[in-house]
């Protein structure tokens, strides 16, 4: 090999040649990249849309669904979901005298008599059967002392299956009965049994009577529907039904979402903020300061969190049956920030050693500037994930506390307290529990799925293996 002999052109700068290096694709910022990856995740994207819809519901819901959540319609208690139902306006029912016949010849009550009573015949309605009343009359049965009236919501299969005993007539002369007991717009099977005081008629006849939804003229006036008897009016819609006090469930869910989402979003936001500052300072300074600061978080983690939530409430002097939204918020923030603090501390400990931080320090940057300008912005990805996973936890806690009566108290609705109220009437009207429960579950679910998606998109180290 010849030794190197410099030539004249060796040390002249190379002329810039445009087009030599072409960027194969445009460079993307961290956030653009994350957004692209999030968009590919269908579940997370759907969750994001649902969350936006839920928040919109909270904000503009009261304008879109203008029913007063506190308005009690005592004629419509625990109604199942109904939309755009019509009702017949009927005249105010007066007192019905009933139908009487001449008392049939009394047969002396004979204890040995067997099958002396015939089944009641020709049960028919008087007037139209509506949810205001069902008026029945029937033909007298020879030998009857009085009549028993039963109502069922299905065709009775045997004499054991006649359904609800509505009442009995006082005498045999009375051959009519008026039923006004919580009638709903459905078909009912009425059975009238004759009895002589010792035994009931062995056979029975049942009539099926379809009951039409109706309101009286005065009820129509109360609801500002101008209608006369015989008209058909459209009732106020209750898409989610009504609760046990006749309040519209949809309006209450919208109002309840304000409490649930307020606690669920504001509390995690505040505790993540507190945790970030605390963890940032602890991680940056390290050493003894770090050790001391981290002891505090060890301590907080060991505390039984729920007991302290309840203690806080008592400490604020909030008795049972009173709402305590602010104490709940405060307690959540003060008891829950340590998780974020640990996360941020770990991140800061790592980033502290990175070259760009060293460079900034060499240029004379102050500690607080370094923390807030360089370290925390670089942990924002994991922080966002942490925040998203914190929200379901806060919503759960609020629901849980309200459920056991330690959170939001009536009349303020929250999803948790509504579930609590709904649980009491779960067997007769399951929708009262179902709708608030669905909203809690849906919110928690969407935030969890979004959190999963965000973690995959933002944080390559924590990426879940799927």
């Amino acid at each position: 090999m010849n030794p190197y002999a410099p030539k004249a052109g060796d040390f002249t700068p190379v002329a810039r040649q445009p087009g030599l290096i072409t960027n194969p694709r445009p460079s993307q910022s961290y956030w653009q990249d994350a957004w692209l990856r999030l968009k590919q995740n269908k579940r997370a994207l759907l969750s994001l849309y649902l969350i936006v819809a839920l928040v919109l519901m909270t904000l503009v819901g009261p304008w879109l669904w203008q029913q007063d959540p506190a308005y009690q319609d005592l004629d419509l208690i625990s109604q199942p979901p109904a939309y755009g139902e019509t009702a017949l306006v009927v005249a105010d029912p007066g007192i019905w005298a009933g139908v009487s016949v001449d008392p049939p010849t009394l047969i002396t009550v004979d204890s040995n008599a067997t099958s002396s009573l015939a089944a009641t015949a020709q049960i028919q309605t008087v007037g139209s059967a509506s949810t205001q009343y069902v008026r029945l009359r029937w033909e007298p049965v020879a030998g009857a002392g009085f009549y028993l009236v039963y109502r069922n919501d299905h065709a009775p299969e045997s004499s054991e299956d006649l359904g609800l005993p509505l009442g009995q007539t006082l005498t045999a002369a009375e051959v009519s009965f008026e039923d006004r007991l919580q009638l709903r717009a459905q078909d009912y099977w009425y059975t009238v049994l004759a009895s002589n005081g010792l035994q009931e008629a062995p056979g029975f006849t049942t009539v099926r009577i379809p009951v039409q939804r109706s309101i009286t003229e005065s009820q129509a006036q109360d609801r500002k529907l101008h209608a006369n008897a015989g008209d058909t009016v459209t009732l106020r819609s209750h898409p989610f039904g009504t609760d046990s006090l006749g309040r519209d469930l949809l309006a209450r869910i919208i109002e309840g979402s304000q409490v649930s989402l307020f606690i669920g979003i504001v509390a995690p936001f505040l505790w993540v903020l507190l945790g970030t500052v605390y963890g940032g300072i602890s991680g940056y300074f390290g050493g003894t300061i770090d050790a001391a600061m981290m002891r505090v978080t060890d301590f907080l983690i060991a505390l039984p969190f729920l007991l302290f939530m309840i203690l806080f409430r008592i400490g604020f002097g909030i008795g049972p049956g009173e709402s305590g939204i602010v104490p709940m918020l405060l307690a959540l923030v003060l008891l829950r920030w340590e998780d974020t603090a640990r996360l941020v501390r770990g991140q800061v400990l790592q980033i502290r050693e990175e070259a760009f931080v060293q460079a900034a320090r060499l240029l004379g940057a102050q500690p607080l500037y370094l923390i807030f300008r360089h370290m925390i912005p670089n942990t924002i990805g994991p922080l966002l994930v942490n925040l998203t996973f914190s929200i379901p936890m806060a919503i759960f806690t609020e629901a849980f506390l309200s459920f056991i009566g330690m959170g939001v108290a009536p009349p303020t609705p929250s999803w948790g307290s509504m579930s609590n109220e709904g649980l009491k009437s779960m067997l007769s009207s399951p929708h009262e529990l179902l709708f608030p429960a669905i909203f809690i579950s849906l919110t928690v679910l969407t935030f969890n799925l979004l959190g999963d998606g965000l973690r995959d998109a933002l944080d390559s180290r924590m990426r879940s293996r799927e």
Binding site: A302, F305, F396, M406, S419, P430, S441, L445, R465
Partner: protein, 313 residues
């Protein structure tokens, strides 16, 4: 190791002391005192009662008395019930809660490990998708909804079969424990399933599994001896916090199923503002949880030698 245990215990004692102090402070921040609610009180009787219970003393003296009693294990007398001390209440109700909690923890861990292992075996096939869907449901639906729905289901099951297979509420027989314990353990089971799945998949990618395959071990043996054993370790770490979740979840499940446990009693005593019961149960619950977490951590140290090394450093 001993050093580590002592350190944890010391921290635990400090935590319990803080819980006791915070409870005391919370109770004394409330305006008035427990006797203020009583009806028949003229000033003299009230003063006598206050002297009886030491409420006329300065707060600091009360605190010393309270702490002294607590060290002796005496939580005082319940205000809302005649002739019953808080110790009696805890003695009667805690075994119920502990039984329920233990049973549900058993459900949760057995279920979590099993489902998690199953999802890892059937990764990205339909059993995996089905189980993971149920897991998401288990995490997202609050326990009181499950409790209500399961009562609904029991009712219809009994109606359908015509015999009383399972009681809808109550306590006493093993049959009565089954459904509440299952409901209570459900969310923990879901978390454990998710955890188990991800650690199983982690372990599956390790070198020693590849080595085991390379030297010709059977798949079953690798699965049981290498993969499952290593994947179970993280499940044990979260058992401590799980106990806490299960005991607090017990508040709701005990209330819904009318189980006479400590959780239900606590909720009632808060509603009645029965100070001594609140204070006693809080400190007791707190101490129990702290102890459980420490116990699990120490247990973990024995199981996994790596932790011991790290702790002694």
């Amino acid at each position: 190791m001993l050093n580590y245990i002592l350190k944890r215990l010391g921290m635990g004692v400090l935590t319990v002391w803080f819980i006791a102090t915070a409870t005391f402070a919370a109770m004394h921040l409330v305006p008035g005192n427990p006797l203020a609610n009583e009806k028949a009180t003229n000033a003299v009787i009230r003063a006598n009662l206050e002297r009886q219970y030491g409420l006329d003393q300065p707060v600091l003296t009360q605190y010393v008395i309270y702490m002294g009693n607590m060290l002796k294990g005496d939580f005082g007398i319940a205000f809302s019930e005649e002739n019953r001390s808080v110790n009696d209440i805890i003695r009667e109700t805690f075994p119920v809660s502990a039984t329920l909690g233990l049973l549900s923890l058993l459900f949760a861990t057995a279920g979590g490990v099993m489902w998690g292992a199953l999802t890892a075996i059937y990764r990205n096939r339909w059993p995996d998708y089905l189980i993971m869907f149920l897991v998401i449901l288990g995490i997202s639906v609050p326990s009181f909804v499950f409790a209500g729905l399961s009562q609904f289901a029991i009712l219809h099951l009994n109606k359908w079969t015509g015999v009383s297979l399972l009681p809808v509420a109550g306590w006493g027989s093993f049959r009565a424990m089954l459904v509440p314990a299952l409901v209570l353990g459900l969310s923990t089971m879901a978390y454990l399933t998710r955890l188990m799945r991800s650690t199983m998949l982690d372990v599956a990618n390790t070198d020693y599994i590849r080595t085991a395959h390379a030297k010709g071990l059977s798949t079953t043996r690798i699965f049981l001896h290498h993969q499952l054993r290593n994947a179970i370790l993280p499940v044990i770490t979260v058992l401590g916090p799980s106990i806490a979740i299960i005991t607090t979840g017990g508040f709701v499940v005990e209330s819904v199923f009318a189980i006479p446990g400590l959780g239900r009693y606590f909720v009632q005593s808060v509603a009645q503002l029965d100070y001594t019961v609140i204070m006693g149960t809080t400190v007791f619950f707190g101490a129990f949880l702290v102890l459980m977490v420490i116990a699990v951590d120490i247990l973990y140290g024995f199981i996994d030698p790596r932790i011991r090394v790290e702790a002694s450093r």
